[in-house]
Amino acid sequence: MTVVVRVPPVLRSEAGGAKEVVASGGTVREVMEDLSLKLPALGERVYDAGELRPFVNVYVDGEDVRTRAGLDTPVSTSSTVILLPAMAGGR
């Protein structure tokens, strides 16, 4: 199953400038594993040693996966996955 993963501008250089990338998997873990294979630079920013990085949030259909089943949260072809790292700029 393939899902669309939205890449925030902060991470787009790690995704070759893409705003969205397609990854396959039925759970967030599988999507992260696939992302790490296809786009290692992006994968590394989000997912490390089998865990989500603590300063990056992953949302499936607007819900933080940490408030759901974490990496086991299911995704479907109609799901939107959003990667969201902390951002501090105010200038």
Partner: protein, 382 residues
């Protein structure tokens, strides 16, 4: 032909007129002042509701829905109130009484009076477009004038926020920023100008605010927020914080301080074409550490210096923050509590994700592990 005198005399014969002492003994009475606006503004009986005589019939039921409850009506000299009492009788009120001698005798006999809080004619003009909105009106505008809002940063986000908060009539605006205005700021920081290049941003912003609205009391802090000064600055008494900081250490300091002081924070951040806005309201919703428990390590933090930002983006995001701040100050609408609004300026797209309170949050959770300020090392050079 009936004259006014005769009409008044006959009306007074039909209605109940009570003196101040008897009126005071009417338990649960609704007191209605039927004089004109200018008379009301010069003082009225405490607790009275103001309904000018011409609006009595249309408005009385909203302030006195129970037609058997006692009502005391007064005007200046018990003439208009006599006619008003008769009208209330016709509307079915069974216990409407005119106050004998009216406000004039009340005041002469040493009765207690209060001066209503109303906007001056100048303020009525300045804020007329707010007064026309039912959700704001005079009461809402007075709330804005009573509000004290602290801005962290007088840069990209702080510029539009300071100007729109000032224009809205926020009574006191505090600004924390240690920087000096330079040429590279003018691409987006609209509170500053060529005239203020080389001067402290807090002074430059204060000048812009005062040029826009002399109602605003501006308090400047020409310093960077640190664990050393955060208690002193927050101790000056702020209802709300608008966070437009440009670095993680300040963001986390603002968060921890706001949780411990119970002050809501309107959070905004920007990078290139993207912005984020949310409201952290202690006790009501998540805090910044519920969203991001720890700052990212230096090597993974987006570099501010290389980042760049579309000039108008902080205008949009800072204005969205101001919208939240004004709503919170006026007590209206649905603030962005528990909702993180994402804006992508390049494709012009808004999206929203939910932010939940984390019971394990190190600051606002059930068993906090962070109980004092942390000075994170600054790794993002401007």
């Amino acid at each position: 032909m009936t004259t006014y005198r005769e009409l008044l005399r006959r009306t007074k014969e039909r209605i109940s007129e009570v003196d101040a002492r008897a009126a005071g003994e009417l338990d649960g009475a609704v007191w209605i002042d039927v004089r004109e606006q200018d008379e009301w503004q010069e003082g009225h009986i405490p607790g009275a509701v103001h309904i000018p005589r011409g609006h009595l019939e249309s408005r009385v039921e909203s302030v006195a829905p129970d037609k058997d409850a006692p009502i005391v009506i007064y005007c200046a000299a018990a003439n208009r109130s006599a006619f008003a009492a008769e009208t209330l009788g016709e509307l079915g009120y069974t216990s409407a009484h005119s106050l004998a001698g009216g406000f004039t005798d009340w005041k002469r006999n040493g009765g207690e009076i209060t001066m209503p809080r109303t906007l001056s004619p100048e303020r009525r003009t300045r804020y007329s477009r707010h007064l026309l909105i039912p959700e704001i009106g005079e009461a809402g505008q007075l709330k804005l004038l009573d509000s004290r809002i602290l801005l962290i940063g007088a840069g990209g986000l702080g510029s539009p926020a300071s100007l729109y908060l000032a224009a809205a009539g926020i009574g006191r605006i505090g600004i924390v920023d240690a920087d000096i205005v330079d040429e590279t700021n003018l691409q987006r920081q609209v509170a500053h100008s060529l005239d203020t290049l080389g001067t402290p941003k807090v002074d430059s912003a204060k000048r812009s605010i005062e040029a826009l609205n002399p109602d605003v009391d501006v308090v400047t802090y020409r310093e960077r927020l640190t664990s050393e000064n955060v208690e002193r600055i927050l101790g000056d008494g702020w209802d709300l914080i608008v966070d437009g900081a440009d670095n993680f250490p300040t963001r986390y300091l603002v968060n921890d301080a706001s949780v411990w002081h119970g002050i809501p924070v309107v959070h905004g951040s920007i990078y290139r074409f993207e912005g984020q806005v949310t409201v952290f309201a202690p006790g009501q919703g998540p805090c910044y550490r519920c969203l991001f428990p720890e700052p990212p390590p230096a090597e993974l933090a987006p570099s501010c210096a290389e980042g760049g930002v579309l000039g108008v983006l902080p205008g949009i995001v800072g204005s969205l923050q101001t919208n939240e701040a004004i709503k919170l100050a006026a007590g209206i609408g649905d603030p962005l509590i528990g909702r993180l609004l994402l804006f992508d300026a390049l494709v012009t797209e808004f999206s929203e994700v939910r932010v939940e309170r984390n019971p394990d949050c190190p600051v606002c959770g059930e068993h906090p592990t962070i109980t004092e300020y942390i000075d994170y090392v600054e790794f993002c050079a401007r």
